[in-house]
Amino acid sequence: MAFFKWKRDSKTEGAPGVGSPAAGGAPPPRDSRDGDQGLGFFGRLRQGLSKTRDSFTGKLDLLFLGKKEITEDLLDDLEEILFTSDIGVATTQELIASVQEKVARKELRDTDKLKAALRDQMLAFLKVDEVGHPLPHPGEPLVIMVVGVNGVGKTTTIGKAAHRFRSEGREVLLVAGDTFRAAAVEQLTIWGERVGATVIKQGSGADPSAVAFDGLAAAVARKVDVVLVDTAGRLHTKINLMEELQKIHRVIGRKLPGAPHEVWLVLDATTGQNAISQAQIFNQALGVTSIVLTKLDGTAKGGIVVGISRELGIPIRLIGIGEKIDDLREFNAADFVKAIFD
């Protein structure tokens, strides 16, 4: 399963997966909203982040222009910049504290060094120790459950991820577990058609656990490689709806021991501090294995990721940078921070 093992395999050259542009051979189909093809991963990422960079590094450079001495004022201004990137109070204070200490020890005598130290510290916050997740037993499918609050991009992410798996030559089955929102099943069905994946569904209003059970049965019978389970968007504060998710999780595990192997929490980059609460509560309920950060193609800074990674130790694995079928990318902390600071 190159896609989901990508991180662990990342040192192995040539491992196919979402991070390797070579995966899939033929270029993926594109839909109507195009116009920036051929930029490659870095190009797209930077383009997506250009606004972030403009406002962030732009200000940063302005700040440092001609200033060699690091003053208290400078640190204050720096704090402002971090705040406006949605990095949040606690993380910003820690970042500042970490450099302040070094300034006091005269390790950071000029602004270049200060910048580098900040970047390093952000990288350190973004670094999460890999924990081994259970792998599917041989001959059994990899099961991924996708969760998140309303409208963050779960269904679209499933469509894009399915496309990724398909272009690696894997058989993919989608489970229409959002039986609540009007036309959610139809939405996933359209994605299934686009990417060439079977969609297992029941009528709207059906019990999502029952749909998941059916989906798993079909996946095992058809010997597919990957199962992606869509779920209805829900606010993490709704206890009954969180219990419903836990039930889906349990039912999947009963049908296929060890599954779901992955729980992806989708977060919207536009979201502010509430994303931390979302991550905490979804994680408590289900044990989130990866975070997908969507809508990084807007002007939102996405800085919340730094805090989440630091507070919860959940790796950010994928990013969404548009609505097109191939607008899903590997999250790479170095690239991410680099794109912000360069």
Binding site: S32, R33, K51, E80, F83, T84, S85, D86, G88, V89, V149, N150, G151, V152, G153, F180, R181, A182, A183, A184, E186, Q187, T189, I190, W191, S204, L235, H236, T237, K238, I239, N240, D268, T270, T271, G272, Q273, N274, A275, I276, S277, Q280, K295, D297, G298, T299, A300, K301, I304, E323
Partner: protein, 441 residues
């Protein structure tokens, strides 16, 4: 996760003995806390800056009110300042002049436009209007389908958008057909788009030019962070929006985006979305929003609310009962009714200093659906049962469940919750410092 602002301020002011006057020096520390609380609540950085300086100007030199601590005094000022900035309450839709009116919903992807369109249609119909839903999101898979289904659910006609139609034509055709449908308000659901997407922003401008909407409403997610100002500014610059609807307000987001959007556009927030159901649309309350941004630990706004919503005598009676452990299901029910009037139970708990922590006790915060159920159950009890819950045995439980259309488990759960709440309230009433009078006025 966060301490409430008033808890923080009280700590800050612990060092200050005595009362008297707020000075530059003693306000300084408090304002630092205010600043961080606002940032933590996602209020935009620039907005915070302006606000804090306004608050400083107002606070310095003020006498501390007899009944308040300096911390509470600051919270009061902050709260008033936020409420003022938030604008007037109850700015409804302005549908005057020639019909059919056109109402257009715009916003980022996933902000909640489609659901809001259906909610508005339902709302308008209740006011005697004849809405017509127009699905103009031709991009997101099944978006048209979604609105069609919602229209069916609430029995409001939906323009039959077909694949391949351009948004502009959809809207023009719908307008032309509105008369045939007997409609007097068109509600256009546009596709979610980024404010920096030139092509798609131009598409909205075209629709605006051709249809002259009476209202252009920006639908924004209450959980939005610092970027809310950029998004709102761009949409407003291009379309001169008439107002804002904040979606997903029922969660635990502090909702600072509301303040940011209001400050940057000057446009009123007209409604808030508080759930996924088509009925979950409410008018906007600036004061509630202000205290939510402050972390709900705001005893002052509670006092204000309590003043006009609570019957003082009833409250005193409740307090007396609590102190003498006589709190019964009858009281529980009237309290629930108060809760319904005032906002959520969670909100109430959050507003009692020191009880902020209790918010984490999940079983003490039923959701709104739950409240309805609870009330139905208590309604099915006899007066005697309400007074003495201990007599409710198995067969009584079965009868109550049948009467209220619930299950015995529901009844059991309610009784358990009641006993817990009773214990908790009694405990907190008896302990010093957490006197219930501050809760019930």
């Amino acid at each position: 996760m966060f301490d409430s602002l008033s808890e923080k301020l009280n700590r800050t002011f612990k060092k200050l003995t005595g009362r008297g006057r707020l000075t530059e020096a003693n306000v300084q520390d408090a304002l630092k806390e205010v600043r961080l609380a606002l940032l933590e609540a996602d209020v935009n950085y620039k907005v915070v800056k302006k606000l804090v300086s306004d608050i400083r100007d107002r606070a310095v030199g003020q006498d501390v009110l007899e009944s308040l601590t300096p911390g509470q005094q600051i919270v009061k000022i902050v709260n008033e300042e936020l409420t003022r900035l938030m604008g007037e309450a109850r700015m409804g839709l302005e549908l005057v002049g020639r019909t059919p009116h056109v109402l257009m919903l715009v916003g980022l992807q996933g902000s909640g436009k489609t659901t809001t369109a259906a909610k508005l249609a339902r709302h308008l119909r209740k006011q005697g209007r004849h809405p017509y839903l127009v699905p103009a999101d031709i991009y997101r898979p099944a978006a048209v389908d979604q609105l069609k289904k919602l229209g069916l659910e609430i029995d409001v006609p939906v323009y039959p958008t077909e694949p391949g139609q351009r948004p502009e034509n959809i809207c023009l055709n719908a307008l032309a057909g509105a008369g045939r449908e007997g409609a007097d308000v068109l509600i256009i659901d546009t596709a979610g788009r980024l404010h920096i997407d030139e092509t798609l922003m131009a598409e909205l401008e075209t629709i605006k030019e051709r249809l002259h909407p009476t209202e252009i409403l920006l639908v924004a997610d209450a959980m939005t962070g610092q970027d809310a100002v950029t998004v709102a500014k761009d949409f407003n610059d291009r379309l001169d929006i008439s107002g804002v609807i904040l979606s997903k307000m029922e969660g635990d987001a502090r909702g600072g985006a509301a303040l940011s959007i209001r400050a940057i556009t000057g446009k009123p927030i007209k409604f808030v979305g508080v759930g996924e159901k088509v009925s979950a649309l409410e008018p906007f309350h600036p004061d509630r929003m202000a205290s939510q941004i402050l972390g709900m630990g705001d005893i002052l706004s509670l006092i204000e609310k309590v003043q006009d919503e609570f019957d003082e005598k009833e409250a005193k009676e409740l307090e007396r009962k609590l102190k003498r452990s006589e709190f019964n299901l009858e009281d529980f029910r009237s309290q629930l009714r108060q809760v319904k009037k005032l906002g959520s139970l969670e909100e109430i708990l959050g507003m009692i200093p020191g009880l902020g922590k209790l918010k984490k006790l999940g079983n003490l915060k039923p959701d709104e659906k739950e409240l309805v159920k609870v009330e139905a159950i208590i309604n099915s009890m006899t007066a005697e049962e309400r007074r003495r819950h201990k007599i409710i045995n198995g067969s009584r439980r079965r009868r109550i469940a049948r009467g209220s259309g619930t299950t015995v488990q529901d009844v059991n759960r309610l009784l358990k919750n009641f006993v817990q709440t009773k214990k908790m309230m009694e405990r907190f009433t008896k302990k010093g410092g957490l006197e219930i009078p501050s809760f019930f006025g």
